[in-house]
Amino acid sequence: MTVLKVNRLSKHFGGLIAVSDFNIEIDEGELVALIGPNGAGKTTIFNMITGLYKPTEGKIYFDGKDITGMRPDKIAALGIARTFQNIRLFPELSVLDNVKVGYHLHLRSSPFAAALGLPSYGREEEQITRESLQLLEAVGLAYAAYEQAGGLPYGLQRKLEIARALATKPRLLLLDEPAAGMNPGEIHELMDFILRIMEDFDLTVFLIEHQMRLVMGMCPRILVLDHGITIAEGSPEEIQNDPRVIEAYLGTEEE
Amino acid sequence: MSLNMFLQHLANGLSLGGLYALIAIGYTMIYGVLRLINFAHGDVFMMGAYIAFYGVAIFSLPWYASFILSIVLSAILGMIVERVAYRPLRDVPRISALISTIGVSLLLENVGVVVFGGRPKAFPRPPLFNQEWNLGGVRVLSLTFFIIMASLALLIAVFYLVYRTKMGRAMRAVAWDFETAKLMGININQVISFTFAMGSALAAAGAIMWSMKYPQLLPLMGVIPGLKCFIAAVIGGIGSIPGAVLGGFLLGIGEIMVVAFLPELANFKYAFAFLALILILLLKPRGLLGKEMGEKA
């Protein structure tokens, strides 16, 4: 069943057309990649899906529900989580707190219960702590639970950001260049990691990536964006041999 | 109300507006180059008034000498404040710098209380400004006329400086893009010092004229005009000098006119400026003439 449907999505910034007529349908459990040269408009599309930008034109449907122009926190509550190209953690908070705060949107206790330290809140807090530690275990960061998030090395910060996104219990996970700055070994690990969490957490994943190794090796379906326009869509083989794609990249392939 | 009375009110409004504009320019220029609301600007205003007062009262200088001295010393004070309290905080979160301006403001006010004493002092009004003139049937105090003329002259001088000189170009460059201006070889510190000097000088000039109009000097006299002028700058569009001028005149004329037409609200005229601010910030936060300014981070 269709999890995400995007129709004729466009974004104009004044005279600049960042995204033009973007369309996609993603089914449950799929792993889809969006690639393209820098500045092609990929993050802009993510920003529109997650509510950070209002589309100039077009519609976005999540699980059949029209979410175009909705507030980001409402969209997150519906089940879409994302990571950012330049990692946006909460640096002064601990690693554990970064994950715990991801559970906040599912909190049932009122501020009164929390402020007065009522047992009903205490139980919820314990549950959050337990689940957060479990999540940290799953991504291999449990040992650093009480460290300051801002002090983690880059690669681990990425994982933490993903863990925080997972805490919101999403159905659709948008990853914006998760492999940025990683060496081939780390990329391999990341690929396994993504596949694993897709299975463990029942996720659909839509990712933006620049690193061909990860995309070609793992994603059965790829879209290519250039200057805001979708120039190709298909399997890794099809994309690799598409002349338009090759031209768009023109030797700028990262390795 | 008769045309005559209306013109009288208008004249008052213009003179008040001119003063507000002069002080508002200081705020807007400082915000333009540093993205900082200088809460201490109103207190530099206050210092300017007191310096001019003491020049005449203690040092027996002729009024024009005392006035000029005050403007010069206030400019220096502005530069010192920037150097000591704001420059060290240029790279920290803006809120810390904002708190620093509050600290300077408090310091200046409290020093004022200690040095000048809490009792009001009477600012001299030289006879030249104390005459009643009849301009085309409208009776105004010569002071009002002079204030309007002086404000206009100073405003023209400001525009010339900012739009026709090299330093002015440098100021505009720094206000537009701090980092790029640095890369272009502009001496940022010099530009910022100059901006503070200019803003403070204008504030002092405004303070002198203000004090001739409202002769009671108190250490906290700069607080309300300071806030009002900042509001004027925001209404006109913070960072925009024409905006500050527009805001200043709108506020000045508006204040006089509101009290003239609705005398029951006279007590609330102080709140009027604040309500106007709240409205503008909610409806058009960039101000009337505000432009899109590049946000840092």
Binding site: L52, R71, D73, K74, A76, A81, R82, F84, R88, L89, F90, P91, E92, L93, D97, K100, V101, H104, L105, S109, P111, A114, A115, G117, Y121, A165, T168 | L36, I37, A85, P88, L89, V92, R94, I95, S96, L98, I99, S100, G103, V104, L106, L107, N110, V111, V114, G118, L227, F230, N267, F268, Y270, A271, F274, L275, L277, I278, L281, L282, P285
Partner: protein, 367 residues
């Protein structure tokens, strides 16, 4: 975790009990002047700790605290004054109905003050929180002043610039510290809860917080309103402490005072706010003499000028901002474990000293 949760709770309970016994004694035995200072400290703690909630935890800089304090103060004043006293106060213009005929006891008045301040918190918060940084500071400052001007002019409700005198002095150490402890408890609990994490997330990165489902506006408003409520509570306690209030007590200068205390103590640290409140109020009183000339026995007079106190405070404030931006405590908090860590080395040293003493005395080695 070095200490068991239960042990920590026991320690806290014992300390609180000790504190209350102390306050009970103090209320009966200490000089009224000293009691007044202690009460002021408690009230400032309430103001500072809750301002920290808005600024330290949620990262919103509001200069409007004075306005909410004013509301709280006037509410309790108007409710606790007797109709006869009101008639005396409102000689220029009679007090409006129904205020002129009501008289409430202390606790309901305080509750009303808290609630009403909270209502205004929501009303003022909704427009103010839509702005950021400097603009928010400015608009909250404007609201603070608008409230003051309105208070000055609502002759039949607030008695305008004449203020209110003879407010019953219900506030005593037990009430003020009771409320202060309650405030600290609530802010502490909230700050360490999921809501506290949400507040801090907003402070760290508002956009990222929205992305994980936290409505920035809703949470900012929550923090703002809670802070306003407690500011009002403190204001109410204040009115029934000093017995005389007028609108000018609650100007932006009061907001500046609260900001000063929080900055001095360390933004984001409740312990810091508590310590700084104690320091600020005490120092303020201690330095009172320098406002007057001091004569030292041998005929030497140190000239004192009224206002010197505030100059010194302003200088300290600026020094902190320029050089010790983290304030006294930074973002750290007091904890029993911290105390234990400080105490342990001393304990160890003492034990070592004792053992050594035994060794040298009877020549035997070790224990």
């Amino acid at each position: 975790m070095l200490m068991k949760k239960r042990d920590k709770r026991v320690l806290t309970a014992i300390s609180l009990l000790a504190l209350f016994l102390l306050l009970w004694w103090a209320e009966g035995h200490l000089d009224p002047y000293i009691r007044r200072i202690l009460n002021l400290i408690a009230i400032n703690i309430i103001w500072a700790v809750t301002f920290n909630l808005i600024y330290g935890y949620t990262g919103q800089f509001s200069l409007g605290h004075g306005g909410f304090i004013a509301i709280g103060a006037y509410v309790t004043a108007l409710l606790t004054l007797s109709p006869a006293q009101k008639e005396q106060n409102f000689f220029l213009l009679p007090c409006a109905w129904p205020l002129n005929s009501v008289q409430w006891p202390f606790v309901p008045s305080l509750i009303m003050a808290t609630l009403l301040a909270g209502v205004f918190g929501i009303l003022i918060g909704i427009p103010s929180l839509q702005l950021h940084g400097d603009y928010m500071a400015l608009v909250t400052l404007a609201f603070n002043e608008v409230i003051r001007v309105i208070n000055m002019n609502l002759q039949s409700i607030t008695n305008g610039s004449l203020g209110l005198k003879g407010i019953p002095a219900y506030t005593n150490l037990l009430w003020s510290y009771g409320c202060a402890i309650l405030t600290i408890f609530i802010v502490w609990k909230l700050g360490n809860s999921s809501y506290g994490r949400a507040f801090k997330a907003i402070r760290e990165d508002e956009v990222a917080a929205e992305t994980i489902g936290i409505s920035a506006f809703y949470h900012k408003l929550m923090a703002f309103t809670i802070a306003a409520m407690f500011a009002g509570l403190g204001g109410g306690l204040y009115a029934n402490l000093v017995s005389t209030i007028d609108p000018n007590l609650f100007s932006f200068l009061l907001s500046y005072q609260v900001v000063t205390i929080v900055v001095l103590g360390g933004v984001g640290s409740i312990t810091g706010s508590v310590l700084a409140s104690i320091l600020y109020v005490s120092l303020f009183e201690l330095l009172r003499p320098i406002d007057q000339p001091i004569t030292l026995g041998i005929g030497v007079t140190i000239p004192g000028r009224p206002g010197m106190r505030m100059v010194i405070f302003s200088v300290i404030f600026l020094l902190v901002i320029l050089f010790y931006r983290r304030g006294l405590m930074g973002t750290n908090e007091f904890s029993w474990e911290w105390l234990l860590l400080k105490v342990q080395p001393i304990k160890r040293m003492m034990l070592w000293g004792i053992r050594r003493g035994k060794e040298t005395n009877d020549g035997s080695k070790g224990e």
